[in-house]
Amino acid sequence: MTGPFEDVVREHGGTVLRVCRAVLGAPDADDAWSETFLSALRAWPTLPADVNVEAWLVTVARRKVVDELRRRGRHALPVDDPGTVHGAPLVGAAPGPGERDLDLWRAVGALPDKQRRAVVLHHLGGLPYPEVAALLGGTHAAARRAGADGVAALRLTYGRTHHEEGTS
């Protein structure tokens, strides 16, 4: 890529933060955001011009989020511990630039913890379910079910929000 990296940070900083916050609590989400953009800055000059920058960034962010979850795993911190639920309030508090699909982010934030992480890691982050299961604990099938339940719940809540606000 030959464009100024500053444009990338401005354009996609909010999206990356929402992705990080959808899985991690503060300050880990902030650290994952920094690691994401630092990696992206390093790779930027050699990135092919036809890459979808937002998708690429979300992939990098997912990797950083996964790194953080693994790090926690090594420190034997259960990611699913109810005492460490960072879900709804954090995501709710992260309306960001562009305000694009804010309702979707609220709806994702309102999902039960395990469903939220399964949805974000698989659907947003592109992680296969076996890897999602490895991160969340439990079986492959359970992770798949959490993801499917999450998406089903999103169809209900997100669809309703849109309908009520008459935006679709």
């Binding site: 030959t2 100024p4 990296f5 909010g14 955001w33 930027w44 630039p97």
Partner: protein
């Protein structure tokens, strides 16, 4: 300094904090190839950009800041970020210059954006002293190509670091200011600034 994130509210403020942290990390990791800021000045908003070895670019708003950044990204490095402490010395010197407290700049300047004869002209311009002027023809003669008057004009117009390298001191042979990348008004303003603050700077204000 003005950081113009296209957002507002607490989320934007938080992203601003994260952005500042990113610039500091990039600098520490040797990834901050170009850093820039946009500052207010008597000649309008100025974009000031620097690499690791000096100031690369000063651009007037009329020249298009976005174009200047795109050019830097293409010709120097796309690792371009706004902010950081690298620009503090040059911005301080610019402030001092515009208040009449400074007559010469001593921050390092990186002339890699200009080449050949144009670069020779730009490199020679600091010889025209504060408050003085030289004609295009005089500069052409000083750079060893007395007939290259038009080329001197082009070199001045394409000076990548105006104000710091004083192309505004190069005027027409009849004494009129002539053209300027920042607009004729900006050129007159800079010449007036240097004329009127000269006695103050020498500490011998009489008249």
């Amino acid at each position: 300094m003005t950081t113009t994130h296209r957002t507002d509210g607490a989320a934007a403020e938080h992203l601003g904090t994260l952005h500042d942290r990113l610039v500091a990390r990039a600098q520490a990791d040797g990834l901050l190839d170009v850093t820039y800021r946009v500052v207010d000045s008597p000649v309008g908003r100025l974009l000031v950009a620097a690499g690791e070895s000096g100031v690369l670019r000063v651009a007037f708003e009329v020249q298009g800041h976005a174009d200047a950044l795109a050019d830097l990204a293409a010709r120097v490095s796309p690792r371009v970020l706004e902010g950081g402490s690298r620009l503090d010395p040059v911005l301080r010197e610019l402030d001092e210059y515009f208040t009449g407290a400074r007559r010469a700049f001593d921050v390092p300047v990186d002339l890699r954006l200009t080449k050949g004869f144009r670069r020779a002209v730009v490199a020679a311009l600091p010889q025209v002293g504060y408050g003085a002027t030289a004609s295009y023809a005089q500069v052409a003669a000083a750079t060893g190509r007395p007939t290259a008057v038009r080329a001197v004009g082009t070199a001045c117009a394409l000076n990548p670091v105006p104000v710091l390298v004083p192309c505004h001191r190069v005027v027409r042979s009849d004494g009129t200011p002539g053209r300027y990348a920042g607009g004729e008004h900006a050129k007159c303003l800079l010449l007036d600034l240097e004329r009127t603050t000269r006695p103050l700077a020498t500490g011998a204000r009489q008249a």
